[in-house]
């Protein structure tokens, strides 16, 4: 095992412990950035490393990109948060003590997610996801406003139950595997399970998958398990909304997909596809309709995240090399784009002093750089070229229609439904005569534009290795 992978995990852990001790929030925020940079550097070295899987950790085509992505978004978000929290302190929404806690939690959160991504042991995976839940709950309730506490509470209860169900699913997996590979760690080690998945009793796998899908699916935010997501995004600090949408949802989905691979490899199980497609489409339509009535800009984009998770779930549900590729690409694109949007939203909310969409008008006039950035982000997430999301949606829709015309029609309808709402709102937000108060923007827009640049690049050209990784994973997902 190269030291890189453990180091990727250790760096944020150590940083978290350090940050608890740092009283000055300015220093802390930049320490935070530094720690993320180190993590990212370590994560990037993983591209070259090809370590063998251990009982606890694994590095393969699937998680290597996600780890890098997580580290990257973690870094950009930390930069954004450094410029964001200053204003929050100035406006008295946060005090240094809470910020100390916030930075520590931020690193802890990154740690749990990186752990979940690199875990080879299903138990560790579960513990990591649960840890991610706990840390984010704390950060969602950071403002201690009634609404934020209520959101955190809802998030906590719903995801707690979800986590519980996921654990039951995990136990079932072990139960199914234990007769084949004997008691002990082996029967909970993902690589081993995948290797002799064919021998495992398929019926228990079915049962297990149901619990895992419902359990982890709660964290993915698939309807009807989505209820926690909009409020958690809306009431927490915006950097947290960014990492929730950009990273946590992906990690939860990653967990589901790992188990889908098990089923695919087993062959004799039920097809998990229809289940995922139904949940995906329902999320898509629910979010699409919900978008029309949202008045809170952050909740608005939270629902858009639900929509996209629905699209991704649908893609993996229908399966096949092209659709799976589209799903993976969409995961990456969505996390980059959506976090970028939340950076822009964060600045916009601070500049206009409100989270209500009605209060935010004519951004391209009042804050051109921000306004056009937000516009580009929303257009990208709406699936307009030349951004990367278009490519995944292109592959998904064309491929689906050739195979399942009716489903493709539903998919297109749902996407158009959401598209209508997005256009409606983005025009209100970005164009027209500016209204209300208008403060200068604090901090840099670099993270926003960095993400947009990546998404644009991906829309025009994908690097070969990435494509190769995605294709192998697509094959594994069946």
């Amino acid at each position: 095992m190269t030291p890189a992978l453990p180091f990727v995990l250790i760096a944020p852990l150590v940083a978290a412990l350090l940050l608890v001790l740092v009283p000055n929030w300015r220093v802390a925020s930049w320490l935070n950035v530094g720690a993320c940079a180190v993590t990212l550097a370590a994560a990037l070295t993983l591209f070259t490393a090809k370590p063998a899987a251990t009982a606890m950790l694994v590095l393969d085509a699937f998680n290597v990109t996600l780890i890098a992505l997580t580290a990257f978004v973690g870094l950009t978000t930390s930069v954004f948060s450094a410029s964001y929290i200053g204003h929050e302190v100035a406006s008295g929404k946060l005090n240094p003590l809470r910020l100390r806690f916030y930075h520590a939690m931020y690193q802890a959160f990154l740690f749990t997610m990186l752990l979940a991504l690199s875990a080879n042991n299903l138990g560790v995976l579960w513990v990591a996801v649960e840890g991610a839940t706990l840390t984010t709950v704390l950060m969602v309730s950071l403002y201690r406003t009634a609404a934020s506490i209520e959101a955190a509470w809802k998030y906590f209860i719903l995801c707690g139950v979800g986590i519980a169900l996921a654990l039951f699913g995990t136990i079932l997996i072990y139960l199914a595997a234990q007769p084949v590979m004997g008691p002990g760690l082996a029967a909970m080690t993902w690589t081993r399970l995948l290797a002799d998945s064919a021998k495992i009793e398929p019926n228990i796998l079915n049962l297990a998958f149901v619990f895992l899908l419902i359990g982890y699916g709660t964290k993915v935010g698939l309807a009807p398990l989505h209820a926690w997501l909009p409020d958690a995004h809306a009431e927490g600090p915006t950097p947290i909304s960014a990492v929730l949408s950009g990273l946590l949802l992906n990690v939860a989905l990653y967990a589901v997909l790992r188990f889908k691979m098990l089923l695919a490899a087993n062959g004799a199980t039920m097809a998990p596809g229809p289940l995922m497609m139904v949940m995906g489409l329902s999320s898509l339509f629910l979010a699409g309709l919900m978008l029309y009535r949202r008045r809170d800009i952050k909740r608005f984009f939270a629902y858009s995240s639900i929509e996209h998770m629905g699209i991704i779930a649908f893609a993996f549900g229908i399966g096949g090399p092209l659709a799976n590729f589209a799903g993976l690409l969409h995961m990456a694109m969505h996390s980059l784009t959506k976090s970028a949007i939340f950076y822009a939203v964060g600045h916009a909310v601070q500049a206009k002093g409100t989270q209500k969409i009605d209060g935010i008008r004519g951004l391209t006039v009042s804050h051109p750089a921000l306004g056009w950035g937000l516009l580009a982000g929303v257009l990208a997430i709406a699936g307009l070229p030349p951004f990367g999301v278009f490519m995944s949606e292109f592959l998904l829709i064309t491929n689906t229609f050739a195979r399942q015309p009716l489903l493709a029609l539903l998919l297109v309808l749902g996407i158009l439904l959401a598209f209508g709402a997005l256009v409606l709102r983005v025009q209100q937000i970005c164009f027209g005569a500016p209204t209300g108060e208008s403060h200068p923007i604090h901090g840099t827009l670099a993270p926003l534009y960095a993400h947009l640049a990546l998404v644009l690049l991906a829309g025009l050209w994908l690097p070969g290795p990435l494509v190769a990784w995605f294709q192998t994973v697509a094959a594994m997902l069946g």
Binding site: A146, L165, P183, D358
Partner: protein
Amino acid sequence: MIDIGYDAAHLLGALVLLTSFALLYQRRLFSLLNVFTVQALALSGAAAWQGYAHDEPHLYITAILTLALKAIAIPVALHRIIQRLHIERTVEPALGIGLTMVAGVSLVTLSILLVLPVTENATALTREDLALSLSVVLLGLLMMISRRNAVSQVVGFMSIENGLILAAVGVAGMPLVVEMSIAFSVMVAFIIFGIFLFQIRERFETLDMRKIESFRGESD
């Protein structure tokens, strides 16, 4: 030996299931807590017995943890809360008790229906114990949604957890059981802390969820 082992485990498992039915039945918070304590005791017994039967010492830790936290610490804490916050002692269920019982029974049938056929090649003990734990989990969920009161929801949540641990100790040689039960206990602790937090903040006069649900950010 095995027979006794089987019977004892079976007995304890059945006791856990029974208690979660009893939980569904309770109207008064204190008796709810008492029943829960019984369930925790039964669970720790089961864990200990399994540890003894398959001599897996780490299960003893689980047993002790369960005993310490679930059977002693948490019930006591909840008692204190109830007294401190002057929660009225009887909670009106959201679903009628009768209805809840019917639902519970059908859930148990469902779980047996699900588990028994799929585990032909598993040991009878595992199978039994899986069916039991699945029912316990489902009953716990039912408990959570059939009660308006936060305390009873916490209890419901914890009985789900009991179900999980029951399953975990049931399957031979399951690793990381301890770690998981710890992680879970942390979560439970969080919930209780949460309740305290609400009380301290004095944002919610009561723990009745209807108050908490009163606002969402969407009002303008």
